[in-house]
Symmetry: C2
Subunit: 316 residues, 2 copies
Amino acid sequence: MSLTIGVDVGGTKVAAGVVDENGRIVEKLKRFTPAGSPDDTIGVIAGVVNELLARYEVDAIGIGAAGFVDQTRSTVQFAPNLAWRHEPVKKLVEERIRRPVVVENDANAAAWAEAKLGAARGLEQVLLITVGTGIGAGIVLDGRLYRGRFGSAGEPGHYRVVPDGRLCGCGNSGCWEQYASGSALVAEAREFARRSPEAATRLLQLGGGSAEGIDGPAVTIAAQEGDSAALRCFEIVGNWLGAGLADLAAILDPGCFVIGGGVSEAGDLLLKPAREAYEHGLTGRTHREFADIRLAELGPDAGLIGAADLARDGTG
Amino acid sequence: MSLTIGVDVGGTKVAAGVVDENGRIVEKLKRFTPAGSPDDTIGVIAGVVNELLARYEVDAIGIGAAGFVDQTRSTVQFAPNLAWRHEPVKKLVEERIRRPVVVENDANAAAWAEAKLGAARGLEQVLLITVGTGIGAGIVLDGRLYRGRFGSAGEPGHYRVVPDGRLCGCGNSGCWEQYASGSALVAEAREFARRSPEAATRLLQLGGGSAEGIDGPAVTIAAQEGDSAALRCFEIVGNWLGAGLADLAAILDPGCFVIGGGVSEAGDLLLKPAREAYEHGLTGRTHREFADIRLAELGPDAGLIGAADLARDGTG
């Protein structure tokens, strides 16, 4: 059984795992990310990998990083939560561990993992949509990871769903993630609680008495209890999610959407309205087949597992 | 020099051409399409191909058809302007011409031609967007034609740009092609002429005195003369076009958009506002590279040339 190491580099922690061919994690280590120092971040990655290399026979190492990775999969051009700017991560880590290293965007790595070893295994056209604070995505087309011409593909969270719509952190307005993310869910609930506190008693209670105290888990808990205001919030966000999936299907006709990210833990509370809106909104729906909409299976380890598998595969 | 035959099957005519490796058409024949009869349509295709086979040494035949082609590229499932329903075109034509046949959607064939031999030759991530009555598209990703899981990819004309927007023939509302097509251009001009006839004298003159008489060429002619109402119509439609390209770039990050179709004959009248809206609307525009937006080069022969090249290539 061939083993590889996958490393997930985020703004707060570095997770490294030894992974087998079936995506099973044999051992996993975690370290804090010294995010302010490019060098120290490389040092922590090399350190944790070397620790694992001392105990396992490993062929290659894959690094999944939350940032823009260049087309040669060597350099992280820009990482919003790390100090890396045009950082030659592949070269620097290879110098310290003396094994081949592959660098990949973390959402791409997660999509690869779900398409090859997770919720969509066996399928060739798979879109992973992670619904968290914003919307992230990774795209597998015809069995291969799709990165785009300049490595910037897979940002559907910033396609425009409403002209002159809500302002987005990216500088545009009307971006999908302003309507179909966890932030949108929370904003919907808070706004409702402010507007109609008498109909939002349970939400306000879970929020510690104030609209500002309502967070994602509070909306999920209330919805799971059957609270109608919370359910309505999931419906609204689920509708936007499904309408966006219909748009993506018009363009890419995938066999499967895998929905991950924190909000997906609400399961059918999110997926039921999303599926309805998707089936209602898909162009040509009377004479075509529908993509499956499935929950992600690999959870927060997807990036690590995908990076490890990409290291084995060589290309993706 | 290896030769193949490309056939473009439309609702009104069948065009067949002998094409060399550089995409040059050596000879082309045209026949009327007996669109009402599935069998007769096959007969006309086989007849015109056999006529060319009598004069040229040809390796393979590619057929581009305006319809949904199945994943095995054998059967036309549905063609809006032909009587073909689940028609096994590959098998039926092969029986009559005794050469290998490849069947492809005509927009896919045209995109392949522009990416391999036309405006985007040498590029690996290319989206052909044809702006005519509606919006058609073909997608080349990582050097290969992308068809989707069920063969239905490449319908961005029906992604939703305006919630609860203009009704579309597909049954939905707010589809991109209701805002960025030739029909939208004409509708814009007619509506303006109805509302403000005193400011639309040139348009009305070209329309034979009535708003309903204004057609696409009329708007183009007026705009080319510098008529401000016509220029404004191109700006509006070009803005919608460019905003949509920005959305597609957020998702697919292509190296090049090739703009074809009848309206693209207006050139910069359409492309200038489209480029501006694209550059203004692209997410992350400060730290990424822009795709080129180019006019198509192969014109109405693109489908035929692409079908011929796909027959040579075997896969696309």
